[in-house]
Structure formats: C-alpha cells, structure tokens
Symmetry: C2
Subunit: 226 residues, 2 copies
C-alpha cells in the first residue's frame, strides 16, 4: 500500500517527493516515458534510486500521478472559465487559449502528458486519468452541442469537431518552442479564428473571441495564471 505520507509525525519538510515528480516529469517530456529512468532522475537530484521507489512504488504509478495531476488542474480550470463565460464561441475559444497557454505555463507537464496520452487508453492503472480525460472532452463536446442548439455553430458532428480541435492542440508539443519567435497568444488567436470561422461563427464574433485582449482570452489567462 503506497501512502501519500502527508500526515506523519517524523516528517521533515514536505520531503523531496514533489521534487522527484517534477524532475521525472521533465525527463518524460524530453525523452518519453520509456527512455526516462530512475537512475538519471536520482543522480540529478543527488539521491538514490531506492528513494524514488520508496515514494512511488513503480514507474507506472509515477506516470499515472503525472497524468492525474495535469488532468485535475485542466478540469478545475475548465470548469472555472465555463462558469465565467456564457456565449458558446467564448467558451470554446477559452479552451483553445487555455490549451495553448499550458504549453508555456507548464511545458514539462503538458508535454509529458501529451506525449504519453496513448497510455491512457490501454494501460491498466490509468483508469482515473482516463476518466478525467473523458470528462474534459465531454465538456468541449457539450459546448459544441449547446452552440449548435443555440444556432451559433452550424450543424455537424460535435465529437469529430472536438477531436479535430484537440488534435491541433495536442500536436503542438512537436513543434512549439516557448522561447521561439511565435508568441502563444498569436498561436491561440490564429487557431481560434480558423476554428470558430469554420464552425460558422460570424466574423465580428470570431474576432472578439480570438482577440488576445478579448473576454475569452482574458478569462483563460486569469484562470490559468492563478
């Protein structure tokens, strides 16, 4: 039984548990799960492999924890900006603005998650993260359906559209450079414009929702930045 060990008499500080997870996450982002290994993480932090095992048990569980943390944050923040926005095009745009922002706000976790999403589908022990991912996708599908019902989006397959949108965002890790010349706001704006126009949203509403200083982007920035 692996205990989070948050309540303990003999505990010194928060321990290095978090530190280990952060470093592991970065290694997964850089090399992928299979090539990330305990030895490198341990030597980088100046501790032994045994310590990592002590805290996390197995490598699988460590990855699961990374995924769950990322998805929990994404879910919380998505619900937060959904509560603050009402128009379907603003809500959908917020998902895009937030998705792009994660790429610079917490690149390691974001890349680690996106590189290894495929493990959510088959690997055992990933049930929690998978459920969170499904819930997140359902939020987007819901927005698409609502917008369609309200006549803001032209009729179409909401699930397919959500996958089209997620594809663009999830693929970013292969080409986006946080230090590069392309600002995340510019990427989000362009993605929003093409997507919303593609759903039949009128040009003025498109411009507002895509605008880095518009309500959707501002809301996403406030929620994610916190």
């Amino acid at each position: 039984m692996t205990e989070p060990a948050t309540v303990a008499p003999g505990r010194v500080r928060g321990g290095r548990r978090d530190e280990i997870l952060v470093t592991f996450t970065r290694h997964v982002a850089e090399r992928g799960y299979d090539r990330a290994n305990f030895g490198d993480v341990a030597s980088e932090l100046g501790l032994s492999k045994g310590t990592i095992v002590h805290h996390f048990g197995t490598k699988d569980r460590m990855l699961a924890e990374v995924q769950e943390r990322y998805m929990r944050r994404a879910l919380d923040e998505a619900r937060a900006f959904l509560a603050r926005l009402d128009r379907p095009e603003h809500r959908l745009a917020a998902f895009v603005h937030a998705g792009v922002r994660y790429q610079t706000d917490d690149p390691a976790t974001t890349i680690a998650f996106q590189r290894e999403v495929v493990r959510l589908t088959d690997e055992p022990g990933m049930e929690t993260a998978r459920a969170q991912r499904d819930a997140y996708r359902d939020l987007v599908v819901g927005v698409l359906r609502d917008g369609e019902a309200a006549g803001v989006f032209v009729p179409g397959d909401a699930r397919l559209r959500s996958l089209q949108m997620f594809g663009s965002l999830h693929w970013m890790w292969t080409w986006f450079d946080p230090q590069g010349r392309l600002a995340p706001e510019a990427v989000a704006a362009e993605f929003c414009r093409t997507l919303l126009r593609g759903l039949g949203v009128p040009e003025t509403a498109v411009a507002e929702a895509a605008d880095p200083d518009g309500p959707a982007a501002v809301c996403a920035r406030e929620v994610v930045g916190s």
Copy 2:
C-alpha cells in the same frame, strides 16, 4: 506490399527483408519504437534475431527506413494530385482526404510514422526523412499561400494553419478505428468542412471540396488507391 515471399523449402533471393520490415512496422504501430524488439519480430516470422541484424544493421536504421518509405509515398502521391487539381480549396481538401485515407489504407505504417515523428527532429540518421517531411509541409504551405494570393483564403499565417491541419490529421492514430462505425470519408468530409470554412471559402465551394464524391476526394482516392 507485392511480393509475398515464396514459402519455398529453400531460401529465396531477395529474402524476407520486406516481410521483416512489415512486421517490425506493425510492432512499432502497436507498442511504439522503444517497446518493439527484434526478438518478437524474429519469432513471429520464425527466424533468428541475427537475420534481422544481417538485413538492417541497427534498429535505428530500420525505423528510418520505415519513415522514408512512408514519406516517399506521401510525397509522390501529393505531387500527383497537385498536378491534377488546380483550385486551392480542392488541393487543400485533397491533402485532408488523402491523410485520412492513409489511416485505413496502410494503418500500420501510418501509425508507426505518426507515433514516432518526433524522432525526426533530433535523432541523427533521420536527415532524409526529415527533409521529406519538410518538403511535404512546404507543399501544403505553398497551397495555403497560393490560395491566399488568389483571394480564396482569408489572410493569415500559412505556416500556423498548416500545423493546425497536420495536428488534426496526425492525432487521428490515437482515436481512429478503421473497423469502427465512423467511415474515413465521413471524418475527411467533416475535417474539410471545418477547415475550409475556417479559411473563408464560400459555402458552395466548401461543400464541393468536402464531398466524398467531389473532385478533390475522388482524385485523392484514385491516387492513393493505386
């Protein structure tokens, strides 16, 4: 491919090289490059690990060969349908129709390629495949720029738009099921509609380019199906 390797008692000139590559490709598609190994491929084909090494040298070279084959085919076919289509919206739609079609036409190679594209950027020995990939992307960017110059697409960042499009297509391997209820034509049509409408193409032209029986889809099917 074409030569199903004679099952003759003695060995055959040309050998089982292709057979090995096909099996290896399938394993990469199913488990990823790191978890694919010589032992499994060899035992599945009833030969020894040494034989694989004899034919390919190293595992890296094997993957490079998979990537190069896939990209060469994609490039050839892209140039073929570009030669047959003239309108920008048809050309762009053809990329989408073809991209989706690869998912069912040769799922193993397609998935193997998409899973491991990231290795094109850093790994050495991948220069050829990387150059092919860049050439392919440049074809799409060219179509986007031409369409913009011709006033068919609204102004915007062509490179970003190409990445948005590739993202949707490259992400398909994580969710698309060739045996599933969703036909590839339906996926391609929906993707085309959202994308082209998003670029400002008029509704009638969008419908024609997305139509599974329209000129773009038919052309893509003929070229890819060969």
